[in-house]
Subunit: 324 residues, 2 copies
């Protein structure tokens, strides 16, 4: 298969969505953004971010797109296009896995009306997926940064947390998996997270001034938002909304469900710093729950986890840290 | 080193150039393009595109940026930013090679006033560099595609060809290298190609309607431009401008210098289809030579190589094909 054939095949199944003036086949793609561009990039590497044993190529392609769209969701912008770089290991094309990977990329892009605008395919020792996602701000609504939090803001999360971590635990402990009633939903949350693009745009329109997506666990990500805003995030463990089914997995592992939901990575829900006066309006614009889990306040920039009485809760591992 | 530290270090040495509203440290970067975006991506993988023995990390970083900027040059647009994905093998940070790589990325970006707007760093079994380059069209000048060639257009190349192929041959045959008088220039052309951004913008302003960069050899790339335009590219071997020093390397290898210049990859010069009436004006706007090497005409879409009498010249290997 020639270098561009696979990318062309991915693109041929994806319509050119609005905002894409020229797709595959030239030196570059042209995106008709009408103004500023919002750009993010993630690289997923086999053996680091995933193992081929625990996720098939189709899910992997979908997830690689989803995690990048999640970054655009966190900026409150409109997702326009993704550009895909693939490093494929020996035999990957011949086994049909490249087709599966491309189908997953196309499915997730199409589900959010995002164009696969181009890319590059090459050989590699292990599977590498680099995705660049490009968006544009909503008219009249600036992109939402992490640094805009103010003292007194309520820290809120969309949806419920911990499902991805529980799904990963089920995949890694097959003995647990067979007997778990919420097996498919939890594993699905891990393998095919849904970027919260609608919620991100709605929160931006509602006037939220600081937002990010939860990729490495609420506690660690809240510390990042806190540092970016020069404030201390206080997360109340009892208020963290735990996804259905996480409790049983946590119990089987001898762990606390709320801690699992607070420190488990890859939720891809949104964390927003919401001024109290905007909370009701923000909730009213969302089709999914928005739960207050803490506050932003004065103190050493970062985050801490508290119990109902205000005491500090320490956890062994605050979340996912990717060191190189 | 934490995940973002390296990207932050690269960015800290690079000023935010015009067109970048928000750089490193948020979920996405914001580029103030004022209109359409032009986007390209290339992934370079150790063992496929380079061997660490024949290029150091600093050159590699510079080249990875250069080849992407070359794609923007071929569209005739203004380069604004690059987004960098790095997969780093074990020991790469500790040995100082990550610093060298980042220095090379920063040098090439800065040389063309391009911002390193963000990225992702992770571990990998072998070194992987994915670069996404983002540009904006010149005011009133649409991006130049490959598909705009017309019958009767003159096929022209900027600069001189073959230096990169000869430089690679010198690196691969150390016995040749020691005694070659143009050693540094040829190896430099291979290790640090210069993207022809100025020339690309000038040719676009001059009204050139089809253009691409030469990454895989003139003959193969001309076939691509021919196919994109639905025409046949006829390249005249005797007219191909051969870079200084290529002759001696070709002779030592028992090869023909003009064929080496016509089929050697990675020149990163520009191939433009120029209507005859525009040729003088196009040349007048350029600081580098623009040489007519053939014509676009009717016939099976693709390319052919001709001698001075119009006879077809066949070559063993028409250029670089990257199969996966």
């Amino acid at each position: 298969m020639s270098e561009l054939a696979l990318i062309e095949r991915i693109a041929s199944r994806t319509a050119l969505h609005p905002g894409t003036a020229l797709g595959i086949g030239d030196d570059a793609a042209i995106l008709d953004l009408g103004g500023p561009a919002v750009v993010t990039h993630d690289m997923l590497v086999e053996g680091v971010h995933f193992r081929r044993e625990t996720c098939d190529a189709r899910d992997l392609g979908a997830k690689a797109v989803a995690v990048n769209l999640s970054d655009l969701a966190a900026m409150g912008v409109v997702a326009v296009a993704v550009v895909v770089g693939l490093g494929l290991p020996p035999g990957f094309v011949q086994s049909g896995m490249a087709d599966e990977l491309s189908a997953g990329i196309e499915e997730m892009a199409s589900a959010f009306a995002v164009t696969v605008a181009g890319g590059d395919v090459t050989s590699a020792a292990t599977l590498v997926i680099g995705i660049t996602a490009i968006g544009r701000p909503q008219p009249g609504v600036p992109p939402v940064r992490r640094s805009g939090g103010r003292e007194g803001d309520l820290l809120c999360v969309t949806g419920r947390l911990g499902a991805s971590a529980a799904g990963l635990a089920l995949l890694e402990h097959p003995a647990l998996e067979a007997r778990h009633p919420r097996r498919d939903a939890l594993i699905g949350a891990h393998l095919r997270p849904e970027p919260r693009l609608d919620a991100g745009r709605a929160l931006a329109r509602a006037g939220v001034q600081a937002m990010m997506d939860l990729s490495d666990g609420l506690l660690l990500d809240a510390a990042r938002l806190g540092r970016a805003s020069g404030l201390r995030a206080r997360i109340e463990l009892d208020r963290v909304p735990v996804a259905d089914g996480v409790g049983a997995v946590a119990a089987a592992l001898g762990r606390d469900a709320a801690v699992m939901a607070t420190t488990g990575g890859e939720d891809y829900e949104l964390l927003a710093a919401v001024p109290p006066r905007l909370l009701d309006a923000a909730r009213a614009t969302l089709a999914i729950p928005l739960t207050v889990v803490g506050t932003l306040g004065a103190g050493e920039p970062g985050a801490e986890l508290c119990d109902a009485g205000g005491g500090i809760v320490t956890v062994d591992s605050p979340g996912w840290e990717h060191d190189v």
